[in-house]
């Protein structure tokens, strides 16, 4: 586990600005499906009680029903928890220096990518569809000059506001990098010559 105050490979003055996950609406259909699955064992019990009341007079049948129902419920509950883990561990963090993308794929696969803000070239926010428009969530595409050419933030809330934040932070970082480069290496030759001729 890590906290936002101590990010992996963090710089001394680095601070997390935005922590993003998929919008809660993306989990809604999954939650409803699981709610239906989890309610199946008690629903079957009530159905049998009403339709075939003699069913429960046989203790062997009741035992088998309990064995099957309990293991079914436990596995359904486990799959729901794993789906939540898959959602919860997909995180995009924007700091004042870089962008971190942490994506969980299933239980045994995880991808962590990092992008320095001054390498951000272009940011595009897309919101398509009725529900996405109503709840203001969508995808964010970040074009980079790094090894990984494109970062994608999937189904995040308020993508336009996040895009603006990233662009503002990227601009600040580019200015800071330019100032550092000028301090270390001096002005470029063309400007030196122009400065010396005047």
């Amino acid at each position: 586990m890590f906290d936002l105050a101590h990010l992996p490979n963090g710089a001394p003055n680095e601070k997390a600005v935005v922590l993003l996950r998929r919008h809660w609406f993306t989990m809604l259909s999954l939650a409803l499906s699981f709610a239906f699955v989890l309610l199946l064992p008690p629903a079957i019990y009530i159905g049998l009680l009403l339709i075939v009341p003699d069913f429960f007079s046989d203790s062997v049948r009741v035992t088998l029903l309990v064995l099957g129902g309990s293991i079914f419920f436990l596995f359904a509950w486990l799959f729901l928890y794993q789906s939540y883990i898959d959602y919860y561990l997909d995180v995009w963090i924007v700091t004042n220096r870089r962008i971190l993308s942490m994506e969980q794929h299933g239980l045994f696969s995880r991808t962590v990518s990092e992008l320095r803000l001054h390498r951000v070239q272009d940011v595009t926010a897309e919101v398509h569809g009725f529900w996405r428009t109503m709840f203001d969530f969508g995808d964010l595409y970040i074009q980079t000059a790094g090894e990984k050419e494109r970062f994608i933030f999937e189904e995040i809330p308020h993508p336009n506001a996040v895009a603006k934040t990233i662009l503002d932070l990227a601009e600040e970082q580019r200015k800071a990098h330019l100032e550092e480069a000028v301090e270390e290496f001096g002005m470029p030759d063309g400007k030196k010559q122009a400065a010396s001729s005047t």
Partner: protein, 83 residues
Amino acid sequence: MIPLPIFLAVWAFLLLIWLAFAAISALQMLRFGVSGHMVYVSTGLFMIVSFLVLSATALFFLTVDWSLGLELSLPAFNATIPL
């Protein structure tokens, strides 16, 4: 007749598999989750509900007569083959 302990053994085997995946899932969440209350709430809720289901099942097992079994008998039929 299939004795009930056979079904219990199958159930126990499936439970072992479940336990392994449940432990791995909880460890992954605690290991990679961003520090916050939802990590603990979700993991705690998962464990508590699982514990309740297992406890209720175990309590039920105490009332079961394990010497019984599932009777498998073919239905008797008197069929007349039309000529």
